[in-house]
Structure formats: C-alpha cells, structure tokens
C-alpha cells in the first residue's frame, strides 16, 4: 500500500552560495546589456520631461513623416502650458545640443552629440520653435470639433499640420517634453556649465 504524506513549508533560509552566484550573474548580464548599448550608442524609449523647460538646438534636421497639432503639457512653472506637439517618424540631426538651466544651483547641464543623431518615433512638445524650416507636401487642415468636449482633444484635433518631409536649419526649440522610441547618439558628451 502506498501512502503519500503532505509536506508543508515550516520556514526557510537564504543560501549564501546561490545568492552570490545569482547576484553576480544578474549584474554581469546587466553590464553586458549596458555595454552593448554603450558601444552602439543606442537607447530605446528615452523620455525626457517633468524637469521644466529645456532648450534643444541643432545645425540641421532632416525628417520624414511630420505631424503637428496643439496640446497641453506640464512645465516647471505651470501645470498646464499650451504647446505644439511635433511628431516625426524618422529624423537625422546634425550638431545636436540639449541644455537645461538650473538657476537655483547656478548650473547648466548640456548634452551634446558630435556625430549625426538618428531618431525613430520622435514626440516633442515645444512652447517656441525658431529656425529656417522647409516642408515637402505640406498639408494644413482645420477640423470641426464642435462635438468634442475634452479641451485637450479639442486643441489636438482642431488644427493639424502634416508633411512628408521636413528640413530645419539652425533650429532652436524651447521644449517641455521629449520622447524618442529609439535614438543613437554617436560621440555623446554630457557636461556642466556655470550660469553667468
């Protein structure tokens, strides 16, 4: 006759050797993954926002699949600021420089890339756009939004602008939010400057 006995857990302990092996394996895997990103300079789903307004400057931007509409976003000073939302499917940027002033600390953080930055899936919310801009197949459209209740949806749908291609020379954008699905930053440099 066979009789099964029910085993229950009455306690437990952490074994040191497997713990060390697991920790070592985990950090080694993380290090490998980070070094692959570091070597190729590729980052995925990189958001930059919630730090208030920052400045994006570049010498030249070439983009495909451009779309612009109105929206609202958080900034350092106000909860809701009216913004332009720019979406670009693929973009190549030369001479990119992103900077943010921290006046309380008297510091400016600068992120610079010496090579050509390529971005997939760029979403950017700007309060001001300056530069020499040219479009290919530009469409501007005003849509009926009388039946839309949500003011943010209303702003997004009322006026839309789209273009197959966009080129901006000497761009200077006051930005509150930046998101890239995939970005490669060759020759990236991060440094701090003292504010005058």
């Amino acid at each position: 006759m066979e009789m099964a006995t029910k085993s229950v857990i009455v306690g437990g302990h952490t074994a040191k050797k497997p713990l060390l092996i697991a920790l070592l394996g985990g950090f080694l895997f993380l290090g490998t993954l980070l070094s692959i990103f570091g070597l190729t300079g590729v980052a995925y789903a990189l958001p930059l926002g919630g730090v208030g307004e920052f400045t994006v400057q570049f010498d030249k931007l070439n983009g495909q699949g451009f779309k612009m509409y109105g929206g609202m976003a958080e900034s350092g000073e106000t909860k809701q600021t009216p913004v332009f939302v720019n979406e670009i499917k693929n973009a190549n940027i030369q001479g990119l420089k992103i900077s943010k002033d921290f006046e309380a600390l008297g510091l400016r953080v600068v992120i610079e890339s010496s090579g050509t930055v390529s971005i997939d899936g760029l979403v950017q919310k700007a309060t001001q756009i300056n530069g020499n801009i040219s479009f290919g197949n530009l469409t501007m459209k005003e849509n009926y939004v009388g039946d839309v209740q949500d003011p943010i949806q209303k702003a997004a749908q009322e006026f839309t602008q789209g273009a197959d291609s966009i080129t901006i020379d000497n761009g200077n954008l006051k930005t509150v939010y930046l998101f890239q699905q995939k970005v490669s930053l060759p020759g990236m440099k991060v440094y701090f400057e003292k504010l005058k």
Binding site: T5, S7, G12, G26
Partner: protein, 139 residues
C-alpha cells in the same frame, strides 16, 4: 492582540522569500512608473514602451506570486530578475533603480531554500530536511 498579529505576520513571513518578493514588487512598481507616464504612446501594440509595460508587469507579478507560491521561488526569481534587466529597453529599468532592486530581489528569491515538514509530524524532527522536495513515503 497586537503581539498576536505581529507573531502571525512573523510566522507567515518565515515561510516565504519575504524580502526577495518585496524587493521584486517594489522593482515592478518603479519600472512601471515610466510607461505609466507615457501611456498616450504606450497603448500602441508593438511599441517599445508597450514592452516596458509588459516587463514591469512581469516583475510585479513574480513578486506577488513569490508570496503566494514560495515552493516556486527559484523559478519566479529567475523570471523576475530576467524581466527586470530586460526592462532597460522600453522602461529604462525604472531609471536603473528598478533593475537593481529587481536583481537583488530575484537573487534573494533564487537563493531561498524552504524547510519542509510533514504536516502531522513534529517540526524539530524534520528541520534537517531542508532543501528537499516534497516526499512520498511508502508503507
């Protein structure tokens, strides 16, 4: 009464990889914070942020399951740790803090060894039976 609750909690805690599961849970919440703030974009399937939601959710789930199924702590720890590291893509690993907590939590779950006892036998007699799987005794 309070002491009784505390003792019940300590007894419950001893029988599962408590700290490992708690760190995994915390890691999952931190990793999910980024895609939750990018929800407008992340609901599009196939998007990298969607992967962030998935991986952050996996870490959170492994933490909860490690409380409920301590027998599977090694497997849950491995999946939790792996998901936390991969979340670097899509959720930035909760600004790396989530990933590091996930690695430590996962390692604690992997290294946790339960002590078994047959339900109707005295505990002290079976304390030496640690690291053994549930047994089937023959008569």
């Amino acid at each position: 009464m309070r002491r009784f609750h505390w003792q019940t909690f300590r007894h419950w805690r001893r029988r599962r990889p408590f700290w490992g599961a708690t760190l995994l849970l915390l890691s999952g919440v931190i990793i999910l914070w980024i895609p939750a703030h990018l929800y407008e974009i992340s609901l599009v399937p196939g998007n990298a942020v969607f992967a962030g939601f998935f991986l952050g959710g996996m870490v959170l789930l492994m933490g909860i399951l490690a409380y409920a199924m301590p027998r599977l702590s090694t497997l849950l720890g491995i999946i939790g740790m792996f998901s936390a590291i991969l979340s670097i893509m899509g959720a930035l690993g909760g600004f790396l803090i989530g990933t590091i907590l996930g690695i430590i939590g996962g390692a604690l779950c992997i290294a946790w060894r339960p002590q078994w006892s047959e339900s109707d036998a005295p505990i002290a007699h079976h304390e030496a039976a640690a690291d053994k799987e549930p047994s089937a005794a023959t008569d």
